[in-house]
């Protein structure tokens, strides 16, 4: 039924933005300061370009595959029994990724706002919300994401609060000095851009009018610009040493906002971040669900969704400190980076063989 409804370009752009921006954005400026040092915000553009290259890779798959879903492409050339383990592995990674992103957000939120509450209570509510959205299908998810986008994006305007404390002299004229570059940390930074690779699974829900690739590229640019603006402000408001020392600079900045009639309103603002975090989680779970649907075609989708979220909830019990969750998230993001580049490459190879095969058949 949902296959009849195709995504619109606008919804797709927003969906991509909502998936990309997530819990890593809260830590991003600190990572940039730590890894690149002075004026590290500029590197956001670099990461944005890498993401763009990756999207172009996906575009090639979309074009060569003529809009067929990746399942159709794969199953045409590779026997099913070989694909099942791949599907399963992807499903596991995506489930865990969504699960850990959720737990990370909850642990941070709970540390600031509800220090005595059990984080798993929040997790339960969040997972329920994700479950309900999962059962509604992709088209409704994108519509919801548009609403949630507006509930979230106004927060960019809050940056005006920091203009008075912004100081150009604090940015320093030095380019990338005083940082400690490690590949691991830059992968962490890159993981805040992840999410665009999900469009691989959207092929079946699009048609010509969707302009999938263009929409994705725009979504990625919006993310890049937002991150860049955020990092730029943070670098001008905080001194470099201070920024390196902050666990959650973006949350701290929010605590700096105050109105004449209200102080300490950051807990209210933290809640709004949920909207974008929720979509990162939701879409990873959705991808995992798509995989599960292909592994168990006989089972009902809603039942699969329920089992998926149940697993997601149970697994979230295992890592219980903020550092553990961070480590899990780093490892998973690293794998996800591999998937983001590897999966389109695999598909391209398969497509190449297919076109070669068809050419041979024609000859």
């Amino acid at each position: 039924m949902e296959n009849n409804e195709k995504l619109s370009p606008f919804h797709t752009t927003i969906l991509v933005f909502m998936i990309q921006s997530g819990v890593m954005a809260l830590i991003l400026p600190q990572l940039l300061a730590e890894t690149f040092g002075t004026n590290g915000w500029i590197t956001v553009f670099g990461f944005g370009i890498i993401a763009t290259v990756n999207i172009l890779l996906i575009a090639a798959v979309y074009k060569l595959g003529k809009g067929r879903s990746i399942f159709q492409i794969l199953e045409q050339s590779i026997p099913r029994f070989m694909l099942i383990p791949i599907y399963l592995a992807l499903a596991v990674v995506w489930t865990l990724l969504g699960c850990m992103a959720g737990k990370e957000y909850i642990l941070i939120f709970q540390m600031y706002a509800f220090p005595t509450t059990n984080p798993m209570e929040f997790k339960l509510i969040m997972d329920l919300l994700v479950f309900w959205l999962l059962t509604k299908g992709l088209y409704n998810i994108t519509k919801t994401s548009t609403i949630f986008f507006w509930l979230f994006i106004w927060m960019v305007l809050l940056a005006f609060f920091f203009y008075s404390d912004f100081n150009w002299a604090r940015l320093t004229p030095f380019l990338f000095k005083g940082g400690k570059f490690t590949y691991l940390e830059s992968l962490d930074i890159y993981s805040s851009f992840l999410g665009y690779e999900i469009v691989l699974l959207l092929f079946a829900y699009t048609n010509q009018k969707t302009k999938l690739i263009k929409a994705t590229l725009i979504g990625n640019s919006v993310t890049t610009l937002t991150y860049c603006y955020l990092a730029f402000i943070t670098f001008g408001v905080y001194s470099l040493g201070q920024l390196k020392n902050k666990a959650f600079p973006v949350l701290e900045m929010m605590a700096y906002i105050r109105f004449p009639f209200m102080e300490r309103m950051e807990n209210l603002l933290f809640g709004f971040i949920l909207f974008t975090v929720l979509f990162s989680i939701l879409m990873y779970e959705w991808c995992a669900l798509e995989m599960l649907k292909h592994i168990f075609p006989k089972l009902k989708a809603n039942f699969l969704a329920f089992m998926l979220m149940l697993m997601c909830f149970i697994v979230a019990y295992i890592p219980d400190t903020i550092n553990d969750v961070g480590d899990w998230l780093s490892t998973l993001s690293m794998i996800e980076c591999g998937i983001a580049f590897g999966l389109p490459l695999l598909l391209l190879i398969v497509l190449m063989f297919q076109s070669m095969g068809s050419r041979l058949a024609h000859e």
Binding site: T38, M111, Y112, F114, P115, T116, T117, N118, E121, L124, I125, L128, W132, T135, D165, A169, R170, T172, P173, F174, K177, G178, V237, Y238, S239, L240, G241, Q242, N245, E252, A255, Y256, R258, E263, R264, N302
Partner: protein
Amino acid sequence: MNKIMRILLVVTILIMLPGCDYRILERIGFTYAASYDAAPENQVEIGISIPRADPTIDLVRELHSAVGKSSKDARVKFANETDLLLVNGQIRVLLYSEALARKDLSNEINSILRDTSISPLVKISLVNGNAKDMLFKDYKQHLSTDKYINRLLEKASTNNRIPKTTLYEFERDYYDDGIDPIAPILKEQAEDITVDGIGLFRGYKYIGKIYNKDVLLFSILRGKFKKGDMGLDLDSVRDNDGSHEYIMFTSVVSNRAVHVKHNANGPIHVTIAANFKGSIHEYIGDLKLSKDADRHQVEKKVSEILSERGNRLVKQLQQYNVDSLGIGMHVRNSMSYEAWKALNWSEEYPRIKVDCQIHFKAKDYGKIR
């Protein structure tokens, strides 16, 4: 499916509700202000003031104090003395005695920075004398002391009597390698509290102070300055012929630029050029302000006096070896990263040559000509 959803919803609500972490406002003690004093054996004495809003008792605020190894250690002690649940979310003012600050504030500040419930907007201030005594005393003609101090600091910083020094600014300047942090100093004066000056820090250590009369000038030199009042005796430059010349101006808008010149084998030469405009509110003297020539003469005189005082102020800062004006930031930005790292700024700073050029311009001079 809808039925399952509804059942799920009901079950969730049933699971969630008993877990509710309910809090009754009257039973929570929102610490409003805290004081820190040095105690023997490297301990600190902490005092806190909690506003009470219970109509059944005739009490405006609750006060507790304890001596401990750290602020959190002392907190555990006074948590036992009160029936309230102590929380830090609404702390507005932190008062440190000069004696404690002279030792080092790094433990105290770091403990505050770690606490997620404390706002970065909390005001940091030094106290000339005993911080606890100041906080615990009731000042007859004022609000309850904690609120009084908070509003006093807020007013003083919005009027630019003192630069804004919240935890955010304090920490930011601490971590920046081109500027040193500052904090206002409060003093008890009979039945009032007044601003005594500005405390100069090196790291988290209190080094010296700028007295009240130079505070405005300090703010102008530090930059980002919108308004304030200043009175000046103009007699000091010309020989005293018996007539008294005095000027008072307000609503000052200033901009500051720092120019750095590197000399091949001399010390670094820094020029702080500050232009500011003000309205003259009071002028006692022989010149007529409506006459351009006369007014320019007054402007020139004010500029000269302020530049000279500015130079003296910078000398004083150099003697203390604290770069509270942030000159280092501009020196840093004028050279390459490697050269800056090779330069030992705290060694170089007392040696550099600083020239303050302050230009005053009278925007208007009130209702009379």
